[in-house]
């Protein structure tokens, strides 16, 4: 596949990127409660060079913890498009995978992968911090191997993603005092 070819420079850069991942967590789902233990003394994700970041402009990972309602999905898409490339998305919990216990809800989306490209899912409801750290290590491995290229998929299949977004949301534009 052409998307997997990297120059030497990109390979070196990917090594560095895998060791310094800054994370923006989109914590509207209940899974967010597993993040504090993985960040603080018990599991200490900073030893992998990972850390929380307050703004999408500096984030490498967009971390979606659980269900997304149609209203929050618009914000997620905005946030994702603001992040600098290369960027990675982790879907945390069954709700991002297939809808979880909200599979028949009128207000939430079922598969996150229709709307933004997800690099890695963590299954479970809700996954433990051990699963989280395992997933981070897997993501680092994927970045080093050059397999985590969801952001390239998003650019190549932009039409398809946009169609899905429009189908579910009607319009992606956000009407409120912060976005107009």
């Amino acid at each position: 596949m052409s998307t997997n070819e990297r120059s030497i420079w990109e390979k070196i850069a990917d090594q560095l990127r895998s060791k310094s991942l800054w994370m923006l967590h989109y914590c509207t789902g209940c899974g967010a409660i597993e993040l504090p233990p993985s960040m603080t003394s018990r599991f200490d994700m900073e030893r992998f060079g990972m850390g929380p970041m307050a703004t999408p402009r500096q984030a490498d990972i967009l971390f979606i913890t659980g269900y997304l309602s149609a209203k929050t999905l618009r914000r997620v898409i905005y946030t994702y498009e603001q992040m600098p490339e290369p960027k990675y998305v982790i879907g945390f919990g069954s709700c991002t995978l297939n809808g979880g216990i909200y599979y028949d809800s009128y207000a939430t989306i079922n598969r996150l992968d229709y709307y933004i490209p997800v690099d890695l899912y963590i299954a479970g409801c809700m996954p433990r911090p051990e699963a989280l750290l395992e997933a981070f290590n897997e993501l680092m491995r994927m970045i080093r191997k050059g397999e985590a290229n969801g952001w390239k998929r998003y650019k190549e299949n932009y039409e398809w993603y946009k169609q899905n977004q429009l189908r579910s949301l009607g319009e992606v534009f956000i009407h409120d005092e912060f976005h107009e």
Partner: protein, 293 residues
């Protein structure tokens, strides 16, 4: 020779500065009983940030960032690192203080140029905080300048033949150290960048290489601020003892910041203008009365 010395100063700033920032993160982690990142984590962070593809927010933004980095690098070139002085005879404290403002103003201009309200709030807070710590700092330094009758930084360092200024003027030293905490943006004075309130404040719109350049600027400005304190208050040093003293000051600042929460911005200014400022005046009074040990 001058070129070589400038390069040596800048390389010291880069390597020692980034290493010490990594060590500070490690110390912070140990205080919180964590394992912590490796000491070279900040090198990885800077190079990673430079390798990403970010967006600009117009030429004011670009220019502001270049001005911030350039201003701080120019300042650093004038600061004596122990006996390593890039421009001998020109290391006047007023030159350094004025040049240092170029970097701060460049940063303010660039960040406001990004148009994000959080950035404007952060910059406003940073400038307010500057008003807070600069006044006691300069009053305390004025006492030192008056006592030694020189304003050259290496002159001030060489004048401490008998004992350190810190022991001659302990109150002034404490005031300068408290102001130093505010300059470094260490807790409790990290109000301008409060990540949980205003999304890292001035840095909110910085992506990729802009972030990398700003991290470098931050490292260099830390180097300028602590170097001034070490040169003026901590006795005569050559290059190696200078770095040793530098490390000790930096570690003490980190330890203090690891255990304290954050002030609100008006509390910062009130605090600086009540306690350190009155102490600084007391110190100046002592100097005028000749009560210097």
């Amino acid at each position: 020779m001058t070129v070589l010395r400038v390069i040596a100063v800048l390389l010291t700033g880069f390597f020692v500065g980034l290493t010490l920032e990594g060590i500070a993160r490690k110390i912070m982690a140990r205080v919180q009983r964590r394992y912590g990142p490796p000491w070279y984590q900040n090198f990885i962070d800077v190079f990673k940030a430079l390798s990403k593809r970010g967006i600009s927010h117009g030429w004011i933004f670009d220019f502001g960032i270049l001005m911030a980095l350039g201003g701080v690098i120019a300042t650093l070139a004038f600061v004596p690192l122990g006996d390593l002085v890039a421009f001998p005879g020109l290391d006047n404290i007023f030159i350094i203080v004025y040049l240092f403002a170029v970097g701060a103003l460049g940063m303010a201009m660039g960040m406001v140029g990004s148009g994000n309200p959080n950035a404007s709030i952060g910059v406003a807070r940073a400038l307010t905080q500057m008003l807070g710590y600069e006044v006691p700092y300069l009053v305390a330094i004025a006492g030192v300048l008056y006592y030694y009758k020189t304003s050259s930084v290496s002159g001030l360092m060489m004048a401490q033949q008998d004992t350190w200024t810190l022991f001659k003027m302990p109150i002034g030293g404490i005031v300068a150290f408290i102001s130093l905490l505010g300059m470094l943006g260490k807790k409790p004075f990290d109000t301008p960048i409060a990540p949980a309130e205003i999304a890292s404040g001035p840095m909110v719109e910085l992506s990729a290489k802009y972030m990398g350049l700003l991290m470098l600027m931050h490292t260099f400005s830390i180097f300028v601020e602590i170097s001034l304190f070490v040169d003026i208050f901590l006795g005569i040093s050559n290059y190696l003892t200078f770095l040793l003293k530098f490390t000790v000051v930096w570690i003490i600042a980190t330890l203090i910041s690891a255990v304290l929460p954050r002030f609100r911005i008006e509390q910062v200014v009130k605090f600086y203008w009540k306690v350190p400022l009155s102490l600084a005046f007391v110190q100046v009074l002592f100097v005028l009365l000749g009560w210097v040990f």
